[in-house]
Amino acid sequence: MATAVGALAHTEEHSGLWSWLTTVDHKKIGALYGITGFLFFLLGGAEAVAIRTQLAVPNGTVVDAARFNELFTMHALTMIFLAIMPMGAAFFNYFIPLQIGARDVAFPRLNALSYWVFLSGAVILTSSFFLGGAPDGGWFAYVPLTGKQYSPGTGLDFYVVGLMVLGLSSLLASLNFAVTIINMRAPGMTLMRMPVYMWIALVVAFLLILSLPVLTVGLIQLLFDRKFGTNFFTPGSGGDPILWQHIFWIFGHPEVYVLILPAMGIVSEVLPVMSRKPLFGYSAIVFASASIGVLGFGVWAHHMFTTGLGTVPQVVFSASTMAIGVPTGIKIFNWLGTMYGGNIRFVTATYFAVAFIATFTIGGISGVMHASPSVDAQHQDSYFVVAHLHYVLFGGAIMGIFSGIFYWFPKMTGRLLDEATGKLTFWLMFVGLNLTFFPMHFLGLAGMPRRIYTYDAGLGWETWNFVATIGAYTIAASVLVFVVNFLMTMRKPRTAPDNPWDGATLEWATSSPPPEHDFDVIPPVHDRDPLWYMRDHNIAMPAPPEHQHIHMPPPSYFPLIMGLGVAMMAIGVLSTFAITALGIVVVIYSTWGWVLEPTD
């Protein structure tokens, strides 16, 4: 039976295009996520530079109003769904099995499918630029503006379909990660001995599992409104635009924590290792992360303080929003506690991690400020909020991701990124981000609204807009320096030691880069910082048995085929439903092959 569906031979090659297309190795899939996410980070950055160039001076003429609206919408969608989330997923993919002492994720083929579905969604969403215009209704896509009447073009259809496909990908990945972390930890690794990063991966997985279905329901309703003339959100026909806002933000606010928590996790790994001391307040950070995950579902309406919610909802959501600031504050104090009394090795990863504390704190402070609905009535939809969210997502998420890149690069590639160039990247990025985003606080205070493609001279907005644009170019330069560093480093021989930073967690117990089966012997876990415990108690890694056969799942092309089937289903919605029908056939065929595929 199996041979009947497996028409193509499996590859046993470990390099070459076919091996990448059929891989089920979590490390290769992590690399695919990372590279793809970084390329989209460059695209989203280019969109940001175009936006800032237009706004550098009053009455700018670099892009027109229609293009500007596409650019700011796609900048947000690209950075959120195609850059930060996949870069976070890249690290999760790569390090969940390694940090818990497993040989792969629970469902390796499902993992490959997540990537191919993600890639389909990313390509579909971005292709809108060349196929009749990109979405231009903001990443929040408020109806009625995004309904058929006011957005008759196809841009919003790409938004709906693209996000549904991307949501499917994240949902599959999150289920996989949650099952892996819960079931596949090495002997001795109790939940409270897991690295904080693993706790955060678990919280993020649950946030996505619980919030994405809500978004998907909303997207289907919007799709039906647009395609089939239903009235879920149409005022005057029984629908209500407020409903969309509730649905969107019940997804949208947990999504914010999906973006920032992984960076918090990375910093919670880097700081103790570089400070050469255990993480301060492990349990506090774990409980803070979990409570952020829970409270994150109870604050969505603070995005809607100005919609006329009424007094009681304003007070309730204000209180819950202020409450979520508390666990965030606890984390900041614990990171500082980790630095206290340390002997801190200041490598590039440390620079990014320490700067993260400072810049994320700024975003946290401004976030708590507009937890007050009264203040929010002035901040909402002004540049103050643009400053706030970029301090959280750039000062937080991106700084954390860069810390992770420098920290884990030797493990992933066997090569250490150049430190001098790395520090140049850091300083350019740190200066650039503050030049770009701090002045936006001043612009917000001076009454500049968001999402405007032009402004008049004489409102006191000229200076800081110009400074912000200089900052954006500085950030672009920092990223360019990083790309050069990456390309130069990849040409060097693999000389990085297995544990260059004297790391405490299990990924440093195997070779750099790790073998396909991750560990020759699954290391035993005695402590929260297993490698430090073994170092301090002179416990050697157990030697591998002389004859051992480690069974790894074979490569499979069915995830790729099923990913193509999902892409066809989506493309059909954008063109003709016949392609959707064909896509369903492909998905059914690949499910058949998937189920009956031999496992060795």
Partner: protein
Amino acid sequence: MGSSRSGRAAIIIGSLVATAILTWAIFVAFADSANTPQTTFIPASVQAALVRDAYMIIFILAGVVFFAIMAVTLIFTLLYRERPGQTALQFHGNSKLEVVWTLIPVIIVVIMAVPTFSAISETSKAPPADALKVVAIGHQWWFEFQYPELGLTTANELHVPVGRAVSVTLESKDVIHSFWVPQLSGKVDMMPGHRNHLWFTPTQARPEPYLAQCAEFCGISHANMRFRVFVRPAADFDAWTKSTAADRTAPTTDIAKAGEAQFAASGCVGCHTVKGNAAAAGTVGPNLTHFGSRTTLGSGVVDSNPQNIRKWLANPQNVKPGALMPNLNLSQDALDKLVPYLEGLK
């Protein structure tokens, strides 16, 4: 440095001074930005002042937290960077400290919550019975203002008397817009299918208008959807009401009379009302009865003057992308007549 007691003191004092200078510089820049035409921080109404007072407390708290975290981060960075011979202290945490720094943010948010909730309860009270009633209607991309009790309709310029409460009912004809006059009131959205309300009591009359702008992304010309609020002494406001209630100033010159005919011939009357011109009763576009007395055109995009009126009429989308007024391809002759007519509608 750093290993000795005096070295540590120097690091701590230096960091505190550096952070204090940074915080002070940021404060100066904030104060400077507050003093701008569309400022959110200099209130000119009772309610905006209440909000500003809450804002001020929160702002100061934010400054204190900023200073503290930045200073500690800087101190630890300098104090604990690796040095030969130095070893890291080995400890896992401190439960007492955890309790303390859980309470610190709790106390901070409670301090924030008190003025916030009192401001909410104050601003969400029903407006006084004698409040001036205004219905503000958002359109893509302009604001319509109706005074139901006075029977007035105008566009993009709201006139109100000083010292009397203004109760604004917010509606939208199409997509979501947001009504925001930073110095008079925080924003409230104009939501199709819903009726929102806000009210404010202006405290400062002045000749120059308060600047305002749509704050909810509403499509291609969102950036060009602006309006102005004129707060005037009661007597001036009454005079304005009278003149606005009156019919349009009838054209006196030949060219303006020809313009009124052109206004009908070109189809303008289908969308625009001009009271006193029976043919012009359209309600899709702004009411133009007293167009000539407005300071701007195209919803605050450009100053109202003959050159700009001509430019607008010749090609509205050129002045304001996406403007829903069609390009009528008016001849030079038609423009010559229409401009003086419109300018004369005082």
